[in-house]
């Protein structure tokens, strides 16, 4: 009998834990996005993410590019040769550009 009560209790406990876990962690789980650099463009040029999400930039062109925050140069990938990728954890909205080819521009917006 005692054992049965314990078993039932532990079931409830687990159910409770699962509920807490599903409620607290699901909305905060960061998402991963990819922006390709190809044909001298950021694809997509404009991306909307949540704070904490990750964007991986991949250079698909034969020439080197970089990804640089445009206004204050607050972050930059540095020079990325062909087929090199670089990850950014997004902390704020930004407009960025390629400082090598200054006509290439992109935008990160927050949801």
């Amino acid at each position: 009998m005692k054992r049965l009560i314990f078993a039932a209790g532990s079931c409830l406990l687990w159910a409770g834990l699962l509920m807490i876990q599903s409620c607290s962690s699901a909305p905060e789980k960061p998402s991963a996005y990819v922006v390709e650099i190809k044909d001298m463009k950021f694809v997509p040029e404009d991306i909307t993410v949540k704070k904490g999400d990750t964007i991986t930039f991949i250079n698909r062109d034969m020439m080197a590019h970089d990804v640089t925050e445009e206004t204050a140069k607050s972050w930059s990938s540095g020079k990325m040769e062909a087929d090199v990728s670089w990850k950014l954890v997004v902390s704020e909205a930004a407009t960025y550009y390629c400082s090598i080819h200054t006509v290439m521009k992109g935008k990160i917006e927050l949801e």
Binding site: D39, M40, K41, M62, M63, A82, H101, T102, V103
Partner: protein, 177 residues
Amino acid sequence: MKKKTNFIPIILASLLGLSFPSFAQNSKLTDPEIASIAVTANQVDIDQAAVALKLSKNPDVIHFAETMANDHKAVIGQAVALVTKLKVTPKDNAVSKKLTADATKTIADLKKKSGKAFDKAYVDNEVAYHKAVIGVVEGTLIPATANSELKDLLQKVVPALKAHLEHAEMIQKSLTK
């Protein structure tokens, strides 16, 4: 009577920005000739960039020239890798020779200038040169290329040429202010 397309006069005409009389030249460009034109056209821009890196003091012009040198080197690298793979030997022809001759003259003219006059002459030439090359690559080289990988490479280079043109035009505007 079979009518053949005269490619070479068309290319020369676009490069020079002139309207050429139709020469009696019945030669269609071959892939080895197209490969040679592609490599030469890129080399010309690298050579002109080298002059700018020596003579300009304008940071925007220097940055642009560095980009031209690096990007056009990357294109030549891809072109050489491809023709090596395809076992195609680039073949000198009237167009590639004309490109080299014109570049020699342009560089001699540029070297006579300095300061703002040099910057303006260099950037004006880059705008005109990229326009001409885009016209030739899209209008003549791509349609004439038989090998699909060589055609793909030429197509892949066009967006870079267009970005370079836009970049050059942006500097051109800032220089006239």
